[in-house]
Structures are given as structure tokens and as C-alpha cells.
Symmetry: C2
Subunit: 321 residues, 2 copies
């Protein structure tokens, strides 16, 4: 992997070029997205030793997760992704086998979600990193699910495991690759998050009021979802908690509920729905009612006020882990 052309050739063997929503594919000064419908866009960084470690992520894992965290933002709009651009920072010393795996992991996910690679940039760099921008279109009526829109009395719900990826991160940091064998479910939740595009689309069609991607943990993301003028009364007990999270918490002397809501990189969906639309939304696979929106500000969990910051890639150098 010596030249830019080697990379471009390898990329061409992996990634789809065209899409019905792409008027012009990669290779020119710009790609052109087909008009006619509103387009949602999100950009995320995925950097070595901030967001992932090479000693326990395989090349495929890195490629997969770099794209997955972006798809999750599209899913959280109740939208369907169709294309992405990739800015790739290439450090010295990675061989063709690595890059093949990296592109393979990313391209497999791109194919499963029907996405074309629309463009990007390559540069040498000290460390491996990816910046992806991703594009999606809304539900059947072009509707996007934004944050908030909640009213007191609305039902709050999540789809996806809370806290499990955090347990995965903690075990991977402690045990390295060995955690993949000893705690496979948790480790894979961290290494290979599954973005919930189909679920987001179904929730959109079911008429939920608002939806958001839980990436910094429920405790941190719920106030962002509610906005400054509302609170929430949550019930998180027993079967609503992930068994692996409970087992890990008990083994480590931690509180299972706290570990669940602190989470981090859950890539679960958090939403609110009115009583009227609740039955339709509740039929979506994985729908888990977690509580109610309240007029009173602040978060109560199982009857007790709760306030702890969650996970932050930016502020806290110890956040990983």
C-alpha cells in the first residue's frame, strides 16, 4: 500500500459506486446527491486510541464500527442511509492485509444497509482515523424524527441494550482480545455495534414523536432528548436490565442500574410516544417502555432522583475506559 492509487484501486474492489439516490458517484470534485427529497446528514470521527484500540479491535471491527456509529445517527432520525463519504487518515506500517480487512468490515455493513461510497479524501497521518459523513432520506412521507417533541405524560422507550457496550469496553480494556472469548456478547456490543435502521424506520411509521441515538449513555443523553423544560420518571428493574450487565455489576460490586444508565456507546435508540400511538410503537421489535415524561424537571429512576454525568469522548481522558 504505497500510493494513493493503490488505495483507490482497493476501495473500488470493495465499495458500491452507484445508487438510485446518487446522481454522480465518486471520482469528480464533488459527488451529487439526487434532489427531490430532504436529505439528512451527520458526521463523526473515529480515531485510534480515542474511539478504538488496535490491540483488541480487528481491522474488520474498525471498519465496521467507523461506519456503524454514523449509521446510528441516521437510524435515530427514522431515516434510511444511502451514501457516505470517508476521509481516511493513514498511518505508516499498516499492510495490505489490514486495509483489506478494514474495507471489508466497512463494505459489508455498507452493502447490508444499501449504501454507496460517494467520495472522500486520503492523507498520511500519525495515527489511524476516519471521518465519515453519511446521508439518508426520511420515512414514507419524508418525515424525520428529531429530538424532543415530548409532552408530560408521554411514554419514554428504548430499543437496544443499555450498558452492555460499556461492559464490553471495560472487559476489553482489562483483558484485551481474551475478552472476546470470555465475554463475547459484551465485547461484540462494543466492537460491532448494530445500527438500528429498520427499527428506526418502523418507529417512524408507527408515529412516535421523537427519537435519538444513545451514544453517551442514557443518563447523559436523556436530558438532551427532553430539553431544558421537562423531566422523566424512569422504572428500570429486573428483566429490563441486560443479564450480562447485571452479572458484571454484581461481580464487580457495582450498582446494575447505575451501570445501565451510565453506559456509553450503546447505540441504542431512545424515543417518546403519546398514549394514543403507544400500542403501534410497542409492537416494534425490542421496544422497551422505560418511563414517563414529567413536567417536573430532573430525572428520577425507580423513585429516586438521579444525576451523574455519562460517557464523554472529549472531556475525560479516562473515558476510554
Amino acid at each position: 500500500m504505497k500510493s494513493e492509487q493503490d488505495f483507490l484501486d482497493l476501495i473500488d474492489t470493495h465499495f458500491t459506486f452507484g445508487h438510485e439516490l446518487l446522481r454522480l458517484g465518486r471520482g469528480d470534485d464533488c459527488a451529487v446527491l439526487a434532489g427531490g427529497r430532504d436529505i439528512c446528514v451527520s458526521s463523526d470521527l473515529f480515531l485510534e486510541d480515542v474511539h478504538f484500540r488496535r490491540d483488541y479491535f480487528t481491522a474488520e471491527d474498525i471498519g465496521h464500527k467507523a461506519l456503524a456509529v454514523n449509521i446510528s445517527d441516521i437510524a435515530a432520525m427514522g431515516a434510511r442511509p444511502f451514501a457516505f463519504t470517508m476521509d481516511l487518515m493513514v498511518p505508516p506500517g499498516l499492510d495490505e492485509e489490514f486495509w483489506n480487512g478494514f474495507f471489508q468490515g466497512m463494505a459489508t455493513l455498507a452493502r447490508h444497509t444499501d449504501m454507496a461510497l460517494a467520495g472522500g479524501d486520503l492523507s498520511r497521518a500519525d495515527r489511524l482515523g476516519v471521518s465519515i459523513s453519511i446521508f439518508g432520506v426520511g420515512g414514507s412521507k419524508g418525515r424525520f424524527l428529531t429530538r424532543g417533541n415530548c409532552a408530560p405524560g408521554d411514554i419514554l422507550f428504548t430499543v437496544g441494550e443499555l450498558g452492555l457496550a460499556r461492559v464490553g469496553l471495560l472487559t476489553l480494556e482489562a483483558l484485551g482480545r481474551q475478552a472476546r472469548e470470555e465475554f463475547p456478547t459484551a465485547a461484540l456490543a462494543h466492537l460491532r455495534p448494530k445500527p438500528k435502521v429498520m427499527i428506526g424506520t418502523l418507529l417512524n411509521a408507527a408515529g412516535v414523536k421523537g427519537l435519538m441515538d444513545v451514544s453517551d449513555g442514557l443518563a447523559r443523553d436523556l436530558p438532551r432528548f427532553l430539553g431544558p423544560n421537562l423531566g422523566a420518571d424512569l422504572t428500570l428493574r429486573g428483566e429490563m436490565l441486560n443479564g450480562n450487565v447485571v452479572a458484571y455489576a454484581l461481580a464487580m460490586g457495582l450498582d446494575p442500574v447505575e451501570l445501565t444508565v451510565l453506559g456509553g456507546e450503546d447505540y441504542a435508540l431512545l424515543g417518546c410516544v403519546s398514549e394514543e400511538e403507544f400500542p403501534k410503537a410497542a409492537s416494534v421489535p425490542g421496544f422497551t417502555e422505560i418511563g414517563r415524561v414529567t413536567e417536573a424537571q430532573g430525572i428520577r429512576i425507580n423513585g429516586t432522583p438521579f444525576s451523574t454525568p455519562g460517557f464523554d469522548h472529549f472531556e475525560n481522558p479516562q473515558s476510554h475506559p
Copy 2:
């Protein structure tokens, strides 16, 4: 500048939030671009010690150029930018004064080109870096100018200085900030490239056939523009060369024409136009006829075959410089 919120607050003081072509601004899982028209998109990296050096770029220069190189891709489509996303890699040790200058340099250019900041991501990192994705709309009929489309006999032209930014880079690398005073025109061509949005729009309206951003030097970019089956016969003489480039070449014992076509980071526009549309295109400010498209492959300059690679941020660690 300790927390992510400090950054978000500072960003809000600098950057426009709304735009008529933006259905939903930054702050949610995604921004939403208004449909109805095709949208062109480009992504570029701008990394410390690859694309810029902090010892002779001011904070304002870095912010300006990170956005300018992206705008240049929009200009090269004959399009008008309206929004961008910014993924920012934040190293330790930069104070609020730096960030104020950085955002100021970027926001001033964004304001001048009528762009909103639609979203992005922040992460700590070892070195300063920016990945920007930028969005634009086409000419009056939604037309975009792509590469190629040339036929033998078409007139090739450029708008913008070739080789000048390369001289700027060479003098800045040799003299540091001092070059800003001794070679201000060349230094500013490297530090503060001026994207040619208005020119691109005019060329689009004038009916040129193809347009491209010259960022790796004319010698490297012209074959990309022509495609594999065509060549070019160029005439580059006397007043067509930039005076500063000629003076620098003569002082350093270099060939002025070679320095002009090797260039690098020119951010000039390269296009082709038919004989019929030539008079209209030629009235666009800065239009410089440089030669003709030929059926015979290869590039001839002033009657002599020419082949030398240009500037590459990727392959050649010595490229800077």
C-alpha cells in the same frame, strides 16, 4: 477550553445556524438539507504537518484554509455552497485565543460565501486536524460542471494563479513567518487561498463543458481532467506566467514553466469550452486560454512533450515541501 460545551458555545458565537437550504440546523442527530434540488458534496482533510504548519500559519489562516480548500471543490462544479459540517480534532495545549482566531478565520469565509455550519463532531487528538464536508447547489438550471466532457479542438483554460502557492510554500518552509513579509503575494497564496465560487458560477452560466479544481498542480490534474483518451497542446509563455513565479524560478535556477505546471495547492480552476461558447466564457474575469484538447494522447507544452508528476499529499513525504 476545557469541555465540549465550551467549544459548542464558542462555535455558536461564530457560525451561522440557519440557511434557506437547511431544513434543520445543527444540534440533533442529523442536520436536514432541503430537497427539491440536486446537492453536490465534497469532503477534505486538513491536517497539521501534512497540510499546514502551525509555526507559520496563524490560527485564522488555518481556519480559513481548512474551509477554503473545500469551497474550491464546490466552485469547480460551477456550484454555490450553502452549508458544511466540521469534524474537529483537538490537541492539548491550545488556548481560547487560538480557537477564537481559528473559528474567526473560518467563520469570516463562511459568512462571505453565505454558508451555515450544519453539524460535526469534536474529539481530542494528538494533533490539530479538520475534516469538512461541504454542500452546494448547481447553477440556474441545477447544472453541475463535471470533469472531462472535452472533445478534440476544445479550448483549455485556467482561472487563477498557477505555481504561486507552491512558491509560497517553498518560501514559508525556508523562511518561516518571515516569508509573509518578504514574499507576501506568494505566501498568502499558500496561506489564504481564495476559492472561486463566483467565477465557477459565471463559467457555468457561460456554457463551458467541464471544470475542475487544480489542487495537485496542472501537470498532475490535467490528465485527470482530460481522461485516458485525449491529450493537450499547451502554450504557456511570457505574460501568462505569474511574475512572482518567474522571479522565484530565475533566482533559484528553476524553469519558470516547469514550476508553473508542477504547482500544488493552486486552487485554480481548469476547464474546457467549445469554440462556439468560447467568446462568452472568455469574458469571465481571469479567464486564461492555455491551449487545445488533442486527439493525440499526452501533454505537449510549448511544443515539447511533458511528463512529470505533480504535488501529492499522500505519496511523497517530501511534498510538504
